[in-house]
Symmetry: C2
Subunit: 202 residues, 2 copies
DNA sequence: ATAGTTAATGACTGGTAAGTCAGCAAGGTT
DNA sequence: AACCTTGCTGACTTACCAGTCATTAACTAT
């Protein structure tokens, strides 16, 4: 007896589709991504996509959200529960976290958002609410905690946690555009951290 | 006698077309931009586009190049000819230049390159050669000059001029994605400059 | 004026890809 | 085994848009 031509796996399909879609969007961007290609990589027919999602845009949003949902909480928890002095936490776990971002799926999401954000403002809001605002608040709050403890002095950095992540952003863009040209992105971020610490230390 | 339906203006057309195309690409991105719309905004027929350019891609490249060609040289000249001490030049003209970038067409070009760069590597090379490598070399060389003069000490910053422009990159991305959320991008860049100067001053 | 040159038009074509749907078959039910 | 439900298929439809080209008309030269 022949193997069945397909298996019914209702539970697994959505994730398989979003994973395939992520890889296609990552390579092609939203507009140039072909749903036929998504279906092919997911090992299903194109029609099946439309049983789980209504439009290409809906697939896109599901992809973004599926990537965002993971990860961020790890950092937030660490910030809340760490026993380390502020300076050591910043030099250690925070720096390591930042250094991991440019090579992670988050970088691809950022690129997709930069490209398509204007036409999907609700997605941008979602990303803001779940990643950016939380992340910045965590870093900012952490610095303020250091100030309250007398470890740091009061500087503009308290209100500009973006300074901490700026080299991370540049590293992401660099990798997207200038893979060929070498740049020690780890050292870039490390140096920024050293500079900030030297600047704010009491 | 009736006004003519159109005027023949061979000299002006290419620029008019690239300006119209820039505005459409800025709003829609490359893939979603419609050449009918470009023609409409340029006040010409679609067929005319193809008398001056062979493909949509060629128009895109002309747009990028037309924006890049301007501007950069101003900074480079200033770097070469300034009489100011390094620290004052960095605090003054260099900071002002950087603060102007996120609101300029350069920011839109960056967005287009982030979106489309993977499929137009020659454009990325062009941008690298004419903007990024020159700009970074100028900043890096300027810092090294300060070191040579004894104004600055030797630090990792000499090999990482990207640190200077990182907040500028973040500011561009911020404006693209999070226009609604306020951020004092001028102060962000200013603080970074202060921090770097404090860090590298002899 | 007249003829010649070429900038410019706009209806058309061909290819492409999102989205549809009638039928099929996997797997459960009795 | 016969029947039913529904996950799944893939050929099809429809709309759109980059790129074409036969035609028109603005300008030039004589």
């Amino acid at each position: 007896m022949a193997a069945p031509r397909y298996r019914r796996r209702k539970e697994d399909r959505p994730q398989e589709i979003t994973e395939a879609a992520f890889s296609v969007f990552a390579e092609k961007g939203y507009a140039s991504a072909r749903l036929d290609e998504v279906a092919r990589r997911a090992g299903v027919s194109k029609g099946l996509l439309y049983l789980y999602f209504n439009t290409k845009e809906e697939i896109f949003k599901a992809v973004i959200k599926s990537v965002v949902i993971r990860r961020v909480d790890a950092l937030l928890d660490a910030v809340d529960t760490t026993e380390l002095p502020s300076e050591e936490f910043i030099r250690g776990p925070l720096l390591k976290f930042m250094q991991g971002v440019p090579g992670s799926p988050v970088a691809i999401v950022i690129r997709l958002l930069i490209s398509e954000g204007q036409r999907h403002p609700d997605l941008v809001d979602y990303y803001w609410d779940n990643v950016v605002s939380k992340g910045l608040a965590a870093i900012g709050g952490f610095i303020e905690r250091g100030v309250a403890r007398g470890e740091f002095r009061e500087t503009a950095v308290s209100e500009l946690p973006q300074l901490v992540i700026a080299p991370m952003m540049l590293s992401m863009i660099w990798r997207i555009l200038f893979t060929k040209r070498s740049l020690d992105t780890d050292k870039l971020m490390e140096t920024q951290i050293e500079m900030i610490l030297a600047y704010i230390k009491a």
